[in-house]
Assembly symmetry: C2
DNA sequence: TCATATCGCTGACCTTAGTCAGGGATTCGG
DNA sequence: CCGAATCCCTGACTAAGGTCAGCGATATGA
């Protein structure tokens, strides 16, 4: 997967880091903030609408309890927030913005927009589109490097969310919709050891993809429920899920992997073919399948 | 040129800023430095080979005189640099790295490479190429917004450098080479008010493009010597130089702009056509021209 | 030669960012 | 109801980053 890294590529990345941190970083720190310290601004930013628990802020910004406490005091002194014990548990304290605090947040927002706009302003329409497209690619690929694929409980909340998103997407993409009840193996409890496996792809602790495999007694590993969040497609997450499932199948002594799919899922089909899957005769009567694939496992 | 800015575009840029400053910035600050403070590392980085004047470091890093002095003392205490009065003017002090200092710089370099490599490491070869390409696009377009086009003395050093680069490129691209002496108007003094104008495009005070115009008595403005540095092509700099020359021509009452070019300069020709230039009969006997263009000025 | 400017240094001072050890109030589990 | 845990706060402390006024040494221009 990862060949040795070209020195020229490293130099390009370094140039990018330098350019971006000076250009954007310098702007951000001095443009934003506006008199307030960066720490206080960051905290103010987290305090929205209906009140936020102090511990949530602490966790999100990874701040020391004492440090955060002091930042809150300074925001209180400025009249931007109020801190009060939560009604449910008075140990937990809840921070709410005052009207002035809401105004300051809006101002922060405005300045952030202004900064972004100042980068776009000198460009033509075509250049703006190209810039945004390239920024999107950079973000997605930087994220791609942080995705972790690992086995998980198919009944967990994260897994459920992924499967729901998967079914939802099938319902949207299939011409006649999708009903999980009509599909084979609709029950998730089969995807656990030793009969099967369920894997989740995570990015920043958010589940953004899943896949399952059933180790059949005939020596074939039956792959199901492969899905990747729209925002992360094209970054190799699907491939990594596939690899993880195949690896597990190998370890369980499976001689081949099989799967079926629907012809509307063109990206998935392309990935299967690129991974060495070849079309075979239908091996089951999955209601939603048009194509059946198999691949020998080394 | 710059239409009102789409709110969605602004949101994309903001997302990029956030993603990049957290992902790269966080890595940089804690990865780099390595025990030393960031400030001291930055200074050490500026101290190369043959000694650097303190005031140059101060200017490049925009540091306070007192602050820099203290950072230098701490580097001296660590045995990484020596500071001595410059022989020419003992008020000016010059900083040189010791052997240990050179070693530390190499170490800094290594860590910087490592950081860049760590972003590339988890990616496949294809993804790496895409990432680097997108990073390059982002850098170039961010830079494009900072380019300034302004009139300049055609005899200045910057102008000379641009023209030299221009001739050099023509010599490389034309099948039979290029000799400025054989070309019309090889003398630069004509490109000054009131008979003409010379403009330079600058990025971070570096000249990266030029263009000239001659206001002819027949009411035509004759454009010459348009060039943009290779690294900035495709970012609209050429178009801006063209606009500046045309605008000056209009202000001098010119009814049309004319220019000739060589068919090997395909990018330039495409830009002329896109700007409203149409091919006309040869209006001079420029030795190196294959194509003659004209455009009415509003 | 003398006033003026330049250059870097030092001392004094400030804010920001962050860490750590308690401590009071409260909840929770048994 | 007791002990343990939780939550936030305060006080004490440190390092980094940065600003400012003034000083001594030197150069430069009139």
């Amino acid at each position: 997967m990862s060949a040795p890294i070209d020195a020229e590529a490293v130099a390009s990345v370094r140039a990018f880091n330098r350019a971006v941190t000076t250009r954007i970083g310098a702007l951000r720190d001095h443009h934003l903030g506006g008199g307030r310290s960066l720490g206080a601004s960051r905290v103010l930013w987290e305090v929205d609408g209906d009140g936020v628990d102090v511990r949530d802020i602490r966790e999100r910004l990874e701040l020391d309890s004492g440090y955060l406490s002091r930042l809150l005091r300074s925001l209180e002194r400025e009249g931007l927030v109020t801190v009060a014990g939560s009604p449910a548990d008075p140990r937990v304290r809840s921070v709410r913005p005052t009207d002035a605090g809401r105004g300051e947040r809006a101002e922060l927002d405005r300045r952030s927009d202004e900064l972004a706009a100042s980068l776009l302003a000198p460009l033509s329409d075509g250049q703006r589109l190209r810039l945004i497209d390239a920024m999107d690619t950079v973000m997605r690929l930087l994220d791609a490097g942080l995705v972790e694929v690992e086995s998980a409980d198919a009944a967990s909340d994260d897994a459920r969310r992924c499967l729901a998103a998967y079914y939802d997407e099938l319902a949207r993409r299939f011409p006649d919709g999708f009903d999980p009840g009509q599909s084979l193996h609709p029950d998730t409890h089969e995807f656990t050891e030793p009969t099967g496996l369920f894997v989740l792809a995570r990015l920043h602790d958010r589940a953004i993809g899943c896949g399952a495999v059933l180790f059949q007694e005939d020596g074939r590993a039956y792959l199901k429920r492969m899905w990747v969040d729209e925002s992360m497609r094209g970054t190799g997450v699907g491939r990594r899920i596939l690899d993880a499932l195949e690896q597990a199948a190998r370890e369980h002594g499976a001689a081949s992997a099989v799967l079926e799919t629907n012809e509307t899922l063109t990206q998935a089909i392309a990935m299967y073919r690129a991974s060495g899957y070849v079309e075979v005769e239908p091996f089951n009567d999955e209601f939603y399948a048009d194509l059946w694939f198999a691949k020998p496992l080394a």
